[in-house]
């Protein structure tokens, strides 16, 4: 299976487009970009690269949405954590 994994390219920061990528397959790229922009705006974040904690806070904010969006955000949080764990060489279960 081949689907784009925005987390795969992440380094120490996460771009807005990477975050939106988590939502694209489920809600489409236009809505995905709007969702992330809305959440960034609500949190007073700019649209430049985000630190991991900021990225987590954006996804966490979106987990509060009803229905599919909240579920996708929860799934994305796990994927973001996984990407960081792999990147840093940490084992599962270690504090991040």
């Amino acid at each position: 299976m081949s689907e784009r994994n925005p987390s795969g390219a992440s380094g120490s920061t996460v771009s807005i487009s990477e975050l939106a990528g988590y939502f694209e397959r489920a809600v489409g790229e236009e809505r995905a970009a709007a969702l992330v922009a809305e959440a960034c705006g609500e949190l007073g974040l700019g649209f430049g690269p985000l630190g991991h904690e900021q990225a987590r806070s954006v996804l966490d904010r979106l987990t509060r949405r009803e229905g599919l969006i909240g579920i996708v955000a929860g799934f994305a949080l796990g994927r973001l954590h996984f990407a960081r764990t792999v990147k840093s060489g940490k084992q599962f279960g270690e504090a991040s």
Binding site: M1, R25, E30, L68, G74
Partner: protein, 407 residues
């Protein structure tokens, strides 16, 4: 929750060869159950399968068909789904049953969760239960999800399962009801339920091969979902969703021989909606979303959530691209096994593809078996297909072929 598990190591030596037995039977639920049992036992009178999957038309209700089978195979995990058509390596059927029986050194755990529409997290959690955990010596696993997509929670259920299972490979399909769009059922053992989800996890020493492909392309201009709640889309670009579909896909439908809208029967309307589905753009790819039915006020019901503000494109496909995509899915599953021979495969294939391919659909099933090495295959025509691997970001699809190959 209903939960079952079985370890063949209690009786069998580790390393026993994988064997798949499939078949298609018709008749009454009682005679069909008897015939399936006979064929399973003829394949190997000495051992019971670790897993049996039953895919049955609503004309053979699971509640009548499956419990006698499950009771006759107490050491086998029996999962089931109602269908909109069935397929095996011999072709496709309507109004019949396809079965898949797996023998070999596998561990199988399965659960059933109810109330998918009301509380997707609770239902999926129930289906997963406490039993899933890595089992020593069995390095590979795959989880099969069967669910009732008429609950409107297809994608939600897959993502919740993926979140809870971690890095598991997920495949499966949404139960059908011969396009009535009224009631779809899934089952585990003697338990059969509507608005439910079944999750069966299979552990193996050998890899599983998964292939997925679809052949749809965007046709319409971008359309914005202007009023939606859950899986119900009320308006698109400010007009009733059904009117938007007629406006943007009507000419295509007429070219393909659909009757004028005023003359369409409910069945024609369902076929029209499933032929011209919604596409969500994700870069160069498209996620296909099937509108399953419409209401009198022009709202469309989908198999999973479509958030308000989403931008969709109505899609189309040709028979040629549907044939190519099915064979590509089979090829990918075979390649995913890394050169190991395929013992058999489960196929989750969209009813929409049957509507496009018509009489050629059965021949494509035969060709898929051939692509896999001439092995037994069994599956069903579904209302949604499930495939999600570690790293994937979505797992619920429509008008897609999903192949799970066993080695």
């Amino acid at each position: 929750m209903w939960y079952e598990s079985f370890s063949p190591r209690q009786e069998k030596e580790i390393g026993m060869k994988t064997h798949v037995c499939t078949g298609s039977v018709a008749g009454t639920p009682s005679t069909a159950a008897t015939a399936i049992l006979e064929q399973i036992r003829q394949a190997d009178p000495e051992s019971d399968p670790v897993l049996v999957a039953i895919f049955a038309s609503p004309s053979l209700p699971l509640v009548d068909l499956v419990p006698p089978l499950a009771l006759a195979l107490p050491r086998t995990v029996v999962i089931s789904a109602s269908t909109a058509g069935e397929l095996t390596e011999a072709g496709d059927t309507k109004g019949a049953v396809a079965f898949f029986a797996l023998r070999g050194d596998f561990l199988v755990e399965a659960g059933l969760g109810r109330g998918l529409g009301k509380d997707v997290r609770k239902a999926v959690s129930e289906a997963i239960g406490d039993g899933v955990g890595k089992t020593e010596g069995y390095e590979d696993r795959v989880s099969i999800l069967l669910l009732d997509a008429l609950s409107g929670r297809g994608e939600e259920a897959v993502l919740v399962a993926a979140t809870l299972l971690g890095d598991a490979k997920l495949v499966g399909g949404a139960a059908g009801d011969d396009l009535a769009m009224a009631a779809a059922f899934v089952g585990l053992g003697t338990e059969i339920a509507q608005d439910a989800v079944v999750l069966a996890t299979i552990w193996s020493h050998n890899p599983f091969g998964v292939g997925i492909s679809h052949g749809h392309e965007p046709h319409s201009v971008p359309l914005t979902v202007t009023d939606a709640e859950g899986s119900v889309v009320r308006t698109i670009d400010g007009m009733p969703a059904w009117e938007a579909w007629k406006l943007h896909a009507g000419s295509l439908a007429r070219d393909q021989g659909f009757p004028e809208f005023a003359a369409m029967s409910p069945s024609d309307e369902t076929s029209f909606l499933l032929r011209y589905e919604a596409g969500l753009a994700a870069g160069s790819e498209v996620t296909v979303r099937a509108p399953l039915s419409r209401t009198a006020d022009g709202a469309l019901h989908f198999a999973c959530g479509i958030p308000q503000g989403s931008v969709i494109r109505i899609t189309e496909s040709t028979p040629e691209s549907q044939i190519a995509s099915a064979l590509e899915a089979a090829r990918r599953a075979r390649v995913d096994l890394g050169g190991r021979p395929v013992a058999g495969a489960l196929i989750f294939d969209c009813i929409c593809r049957n509507l496009i391919l018509g009489d050629r659909f059965g021949a494509v099933a035969v060709a898929m078996s051939r692509e896999l090495g001439g092995v037994p295959i069994a599956g069903f025509e579904s209302y949604g297909e499930i495939a999600l691997d570690a790293g994937d970001l979505s797992g619920f699809h429509n008008t897609t072929t999903v192949v799970l190959a066993f080695s």
